[in-house]
Symmetry: C2
């Protein structure tokens, strides 16, 4: 990633430290974070200030520096629960408040509300969205080792405590029901299920989380992992009066760029003075045939160098959540988490967080259900949902353009599968589909998968 630092000053990637990033002269301060939410409602008057986090206050669960030593000592004395890589990603998500107001791995009442209602009712009677269970599984042996303790230490793969879970509650892990209600199917072959549920323990442990150090992955990408608090600070510095989030787990092509540019234009037309794009690739677990994060970040860098998106009005950051591929259920999580990072507009595409049915020859979800469910979801009333306009390659213009149904014969749809097949075979897509530098990253990635001397084959 050494080459990336060279472009930082002129790119939308956030410069380090935060104070060096582009800022406006508008007098934003941290106080605007808790601006009353009513002013952000659909159809309301346009006002300055970021959307308030769910529950009114951003949850931050990393122990403050002065108390870390003491907490680490405490953790050393507690029963231990070992975390998987995905558990650590969820701990990261929780620790930075992406799931605000959730203060730790779910207890049973939160788990049940998530499964049945995709939302949590707070003490004041208000409702926040919460569609994906954020839970920690333990097995019989771990449960026995915890005994009557009300606290446990969460332990990383190196055996060192990374967090404390307090006032714990241990309850049954109803795997089949969790899967059925989250995915709407129990068919074998759901990637997250096979990775993180099928072989997980039969118990779930919930409680209040305290994380001993900020979570780092030491993969060269940590500087792109901005917390919601850091993103809010950056967005305020830039004087954003509208923030539109774009969730991403694939390479960016010029159709995406067109969409994002067009969204900004529409927001300006609506009267916003300074809409900022949060280009927010997902950084946690993805399935084996998705392009890995490090390659995607290289690809995004090349695309951004190409200048299709304006660095002054774009923030690129990594969203640390693992991917469920749970369609309409998961897209709510993707949207809700971005509210906590300050976004009040969310771009939703066709079949968000969807995939093929693992057993049947069809898509798992109806392509329109994601945006429909999102638009009706409890707790997301404050968020403006922007449905994706379909972009395709316009052969008459030789570039990506919004699909015009009056002349379908002029458009070429390049699916993810088609794109992967071309890149694997080192073929080029039509000119104007993706900048050559970005395309080369994909070719290099698939090349890295091919054993030397073996001919690449179509997917």
């Amino acid at each position: 990633m050494a080459s990336m630092s060279a472009v930082l000053s002129k790119s939308p990637f956030l410069s380090q430290p935060l104070s060096k990033s582009p800022s406006s002269d508008l007098p934003f301060s941290a106080a605007t974070v808790s601006f009353p939410s009513k002013s952000h409602r659909r159809g309301g008057v346009i006002r300055a200030g970021l959307i308030s986090p769910d529950g009114g206050k951003l949850v931050e669960l990393v122990v403050a520096e002065p108390r870390r030593r003491e907490k680490k000592h405490e953790a050393g004395e507690l029963p231990r629960v070992e975390l998987t890589a995905i558990d650590v990603q969820w701990m990261h998500v929780l620790s930075e408040g992406w799931a605000s107001p959730l203060g730790g791995f779910m207890r049973e009442s939160e788990f049940l509300q998530t499964l049945h209602f995709n939302s949590l009712r707070l003490d004041d009677g208000s409702v926040v969205n919460m569609s994906v269970p954020i839970v920690l599984a333990i097995d019989d042996e771990q449960k026995a080792s915890i005994g009557e303790s009300k606290r446990v230490a969460l332990v990383g793969s190196d055996g060192n405590p990374v967090a404390i879970l307090s006032d714990i509650e241990i309850y049954k892990h109803p795997k089949e029901e969790r899967i059925a209600r989250t995915w709407g199917t129990t068919a074998p072959g759901l990637p997250y299920v096979e990775e993180a549920i099928t072989n997980a323990g039969n118990w779930l442990i919930g409680g209040d989380l305290e994380v001993l150090e900020p979570v780092k992955y030491n993969d060269g990408l940590d500087r792109f992992r901005l917390s919601p608090a850091e993103l809010r600070k950056e967005l305020e510095k830039r004087g954003a009066d509208a923030v539109f989030a774009f969730q991403l787990r694939n390479p960016v092509h010029n159709g995406h760029a067109l969409l994002m540019t067009d969204t900004r234009r529409r927001l300006l037309e609506m009267g916003y003075k300074n809409p900022i794009l949060l280009l927010h690739p997902l950084g946690g677990y993805t399935k084996a045939d998705d392009v890995p994060l490090s390659w995607r970040m290289k690809q995004h860098e090349k695309v951004l160098e190409d200048g299709v998106l304006d660095p002054e009005t774009t923030v690129v950051s990594i969203f640390p959540s693992p991917m469920h591929y749970a369609g309409p259920t998961e897209v709510q999580w993707h949207a809700k988490a971005r509210i906590n990072a300050g976004a009040n507009f969310y771009i939703v595409g066709r079949d968000p967080a969807g995939m093929g049915h693992p057993v049947e020859k069809r898509d798992l979800y109806d392509a329109d259900h994601g945006k429909k469910v999102l638009s009706m979801a409890p707790g997301l009333e404050r968020l403006n949902i922007l449905p994706f306009r379909v972009a395709a390659y316009d052969k008459t213009q030789g570039k990506m353009a919004f699909f015009d149904p009056s002349r379908p014969q002029d458009f070429l749809f390049i699916s993810g599968t088609k794109m992967r097949t071309l890149a694997k075979n080192k073929e080029n897509p039509p000119d104007g589909f993706m900048c050559p530098g970005g395309w080369q990253v994909l070719v290099d990635y698939y090349d890295s998968l091919t054993p030397a001397g073996k001919l690449p084959v179509p997917a």
Copy 2:
């Protein structure tokens, strides 16, 4: 059922016509139905007047007498959709407003909200509970025959139109997803699924419902099928200031009676002056090994004749809904429908609407999830949930009593399976478990199933 009419005047079964039923001198009127809901909130001040229906107004979809002729004529001209017996039961449910404010079979937006959120958001932003899809399936052929028509006639088994569905919307029937999200499993062997979904059409048709005549079954039990409006009238006549509903799909034993009597006592202690019990057996589809409605009604009659429940403070009526056996999802429907009938207290037991897992050797649902989910369900905040106290046979007293955990050895738990086995074998349960007349009905029922000359065997 001829013998039942003899007991009507002194029994809690509603006398016909309504004006002959027991009434109090309290000046209740229909106007109190729409009493502001806030006065009924948990912990609120006790006030007279029934809880208001969901959405503020009870939906009634039966065409008024003067317009029936005209509507029947219209129906004759429309494309036809044939109804199954279960479809008719749901049409009945809708027509009387048990699902208020739902005005017909669900369109896709209602279906999706039901599946994902167990609730519907109304135009004014308020939320009502709706946990079970009330949908009408059609097949490809029926869809083709409807063509571009915006209205269809719904047709009974005799080929005559029974209703009109207007402003229709036809959308895909995602069976697997519907099953997974409603039951939390897709295991084969779910009774309602096998009866009403697996072989149903691949499309759902929603719209505004107009039913041409009040739904009747002509099975001798129609007079016990009071609509929510009729129940409200009866409850107001009796001067109810609290209404506690007891959903039932099994024979009543003295443990139930104890519970209901005790609930009334507790409500009186809370300051209510005239709590009325709505004893409300489910009358729609039930699985093959449940005791059929006609036998249950005979059994209830005998139990009530026995005088365990006070006729002056009890209303017995049939709830026309089919049974899903969908546990925590379905219990919300059972509770919500009773709000519409005027109940502001709901008694919930262990594992409500539950059953054994169809494939695995365990209960399908955690026995406590039903009451937990019910207590957190969106749109049910106005309803007071009364958890079932466990009653068992106290051998020291020779009668049903609340279980005392300090002396478990004194109690005998008589499960439904145990009860069925005893009745099938014409054995008697312990004295004081159920009145002899009620027990004899069960013995007679199982006897009616046994081919003559064949010895009964344990279940």
